[in-house]
């Protein structure tokens, strides 16, 4: 079993190393300098190998520290209950939820798929050895932080040490149950698609974890010890059963199907992405078009993709409307809320860059445009003539701007209304600027995504994303929008700056699209 583990670890390390080299090779400019023979370079392999091992070590601890800090430690300040008991209480119920959500063993990862399905490595030896390794990582990763944060919260040392073992026992019990269920029903479910029962269980655990302390109920240390002892006994029994189970290969055959594995990594799971995109097409005989040429083609595209275009925007709009109504009620009923809202609205316009970024549908729409339309059409040379490309570009631009405008109108109008109702502003022009700048942001994102798509068309014929520049632009867009959250600026200054920027950006990018898209809008080879 050790030999199998070492082989699988080496295998994992090899493709991690290759992935690191691949990522370096994808960087703009650098990719032109680096040859394919890079994968042969021993020095670079060692370097990437060291990074890969470092990442593995960081990975052991980083998730755990974030988990304990964000999910448990920070929550302690909400409650008036005993801090140590609350720490144990939340940890216990979250561990139960985590136990059913992630068993490690049944998580359909690519590592397992490569090893068991593609390379035919012994499934039991692979599954068990990697499972034990994950459990060791669980203990090693948790222990320093249950001790550190437990100490701060005043948890006794012996409980600080037992907490990771409690988590371990719960994982074993759940896994043993899955094996028991598999033996009985011959079925094993994909743990990344939890059933309603699992979601219900998780919801109850979360409610107990965070709800009970709010009404001053937490489990005390004696109760935890009882639960721990039961868990450890059941855990040991489970470990023996898991270890003695023989039929891992048959079980993994069900877990490691291509669609399960690639659902994990949607960016590379192109077939899954394509299948999802195909499901978005709806044929309704009533949806026809009287137009012709590009307009006809585009009109049908829009009508057959209502789910991801108009209907999604309608749902968004309903939510926005409800939030605005709730805010209006809040303003009318609570004076403190009214004053706070007014203060926030006067300086928080930059925050709405991020909100407009989040609600803009253009990114997913351009993806659907590629998957269901351009992916096939770009192989026809006639589709790539400047006349056709620009004709369809124009139609698409109109649609994208229009569909994104509905929520933008609601947000812009709603903000101005809330500003007025919450006490108004000294400068009445602020109402107009606030409204127009929200509309400008919406148009900006529509233009931005479509122009980037036409200038950098990132996919190849196999629908794989091949442009690192496109990824960098996407990342930068996110970072800039996220950065805007930190900024507080008066409506007038920020609003005017936004409107000017959006107009300038749209004009320049549309010029670039018209000039270069006929050359750049093609399938990557």
């Amino acid at each position: 079993m050790l030999k199998t583990f070492i082989t699988s670890f080496k295998l994992q390390n090899t493709y991690r190393t290759n992935s690191i080299i691949y990522s370096i090779k994808q960087l703009p400019l650098i990719k032109r300098i680096l040859p394919n023979s890079l994968y042969k370079s021993k020095g670079l392999k060692i370097f990437a190998g060291i990074i890969s091992i470092l990442l593995e070590i960081i990975n052991i601890f980083i998730g755990k520290i974030i988990y304990i800090t964000a999910m448990i430690f920070m929550a302690l300040s909400w409650y008036h209950t005993n801090q140590a008991d609350t720490f144990i209480h939340i940890f216990t119920f979250l561990t139960l939820a985590g136990g059913v959500l992630n068993t490690y063993m049944l998580n359909p990862t690519k590592d397992k798929y490569y090893a068991i399905i593609l390379m035919n490595i012994n499934a039991r030896e692979y599954g068990l050895s990697n499972y034990y390794y994950q459990l060791i990582k669980l203990i090693v990763g948790f222990l320093p932080f249950t001790i550190l944060f437990g100490m701060i919260a005043g948890v006794p040392l012996w409980i600080q040490i037992t907490l990771p073992f409690f988590a371990l026992a719960i994982k074993l019990i759940v896994m043993n149950y899955c094996i028991y269920d598999f033996k009985k029903t011959n079925k094993v479910s994909n743990e990344n698609l939890p059933t309603k029962f699992v979601w219900g269980f998780v919801a109850v655990c979360l409610l107990l974890a965070y709800g009970l302390p709010a009404i001053n109920i937490v489990i005390n240390q004696t109760m935890f010890v009882c639960v721990f002892i039961i868990a450890i006994i059941l855990g040991i029994i489970s470990l023996v059963k898991i270890h003695n189970f023989k039929d891992y290969r048959r079980m993994y055959k069900q877990v490691l199907t291509e669609s399960n594995v690639y659902m994990q990594e949607k960016a590379t799971g192109t077939q899954v992405m394509k299948d999802t995109s195909l499901k978005q097409i709806e044929l309704d005989k009533n949806y026809t078009s009287n137009k012709s040429g590009f307009a006809y083609f585009h009109d049908l595209f829009v009508k057959r993709h209502r789910k991801i275009l108009t209907e999604a925007v309608k749902k968004q709009s309903v939510v926005i409307l409800l939030i605005i109504i709730a805010m209006i009620i809040g303003i009318q009923m609570n004076n403190n809320f009214k004053v706070k809202t007014n203060e926030i609205l006067l300086v928080y316009l930059p925050y709405f860059v991020f909100i407009m970024y989040c609600i803009n549908r253009s990114s997913s729409v351009t993806q659907a445009m590629f998957m269901n339309c351009d992916h096939s059409m770009l192989t026809y040379r006639i589709y790539r003539t400047p006349k056709v490309i620009l004709g369809i570009f124009k139609e698409r631009l109109k649609t994208l701007i229009t569909i994104n405008l509905l929520p933008a109108f609601l947000i812009g109008g709603g903000l101005s209304l809330l500003l007025y109702l919450s006490g108004g502003t000294d400068n009445p022009i602020n109402y107009v600027i606030q409204f127009v700048s929200i509309i400008a942001m919406s148009i900006f994102f529509s233009v931005h995504y479509l122009v980037m798509y036409y200038l950098l068309q990132p996919y190849n014929v196999n629908t794989e994303m091949k442009s690192s520049t496109y990824k960098v632009v996407q990342g930068l867009t996110y970072i800039v929008c996220w950065y805007m959250i930190q900024i507080k600026m008066p409506i007038f200054t920020f609003g005017i700056a936004t409107i000017v920027f959006c107009i300038a950006y749209c004009l320049i990018s549309l010029f670039l699209a018209y000039k270069y898209a006929p050359k750049t809008f093609k399938l990557r080879v």
């Binding site: 590009f294 006809y296 049908l300 993709h305 269901n372 992916h375 096939s376 026809y380 040379r381 006639i382």
Partner: protein, 233 residues
């Protein structure tokens, strides 16, 4: 009319996939392009279709001794994996294609006449293309490329997904339309190339060479092709 390829080169980093391609393809003939796996047949097609930039050389149309650039309208490229817009029905796809090619279509027919020509059944004509089989999609891809009436038709293993009956129909159809086109047909199946193509061209080690078919029987021709494909530098 001829498609002239001169000193065409294409490298991927240090690997010379197309070393020095020189060839004249003539109208009225079907050229069978044979080559081993990875020989560069698809790369050659991708270069002619301007999906890939070439590193050196040129290709152009020679018409009545006048040389002109090969434009987008001159090329139809049928890929081995059929690509059709899956959100449209077959009828809608044809309508769109006819709309945007209106000026270039000689003797435009009705959409149903085109379907009849390609032997696409009536009940399939108003179905979404996403529900078409691989072979049916391939038929549609072939049909729109023929309707667009390009001078040069590049066919990358187009018959492999057809059943024997449809494959025969397609072969017959290609024979019928060849007088108006330059057809370059890549395949791995030697019998198909020998049966359908007027000329056999081999892409080996980055070089394109014609196999002389004159005065030899099929068996000798097969051996000759095999020898040529096995040949080292």
């Amino acid at each position: 009319m001829k498609l002239v390829v001169k000193n065409l080169k294409k490298n991927f980093e240090k690997k010379e996939v197309l070393k020095d391609i020189n060839f004249k393809f003539e109208k009225g003939k079907i050229y069978g392009l044979l080559g081993r796996n990875g020989a560069g047949k698809t790369t050659f097609f991708n270069c002619l279709n301007e999906d890939l930039d070439i590193d050196a050389g040129e290709f152009y149309i020679e018409d009545n001794n006048a040389k002109r650039k090969m434009e987008a309208e001159d090329v139809g490229y049928v890929l081995s994996t059929p690509n059709v817009p899956e959100f449209l029905t077959a009828r809608e796809f044809l309508k769109f294609f006819i709309d945007i090619n209106k000026k270039r279509i000689k003797n435009e027919k009705t959409i149903d006449e085109y379907f009849d020509f390609m032997k696409i059944e009536e009940e399939d004509r108003d179905r979404l293309l996403k529900d078409y089989s691989h072979g049916m999609k391939n038929k549609m891809q072939m049909l729109v490329n023929i309707i667009a009436n390009p001078n040069v038709l590049l066919l990358d293993e187009p018959l492999t997904s057809f059943d024997v009956v449809v494959a025969e129909e397609m072969k017959q159809m290609l024979r019928e339309i060849k007088k108006d086109h330059i057809i370059i047909f890549s395949t791995h199946i030697m019998e198909l190339a020998l049966d359908l193509c007027d000329e056999i061209v081999i892409l080996n080690k980055g070089i394109l060479e014609e196999i002389d078919k004159n005065n030899i029987d099929n068996e000798h021709l097969k051996n000759k092709i095999l020898e040529a494909l096995k040949e080292e530098n």
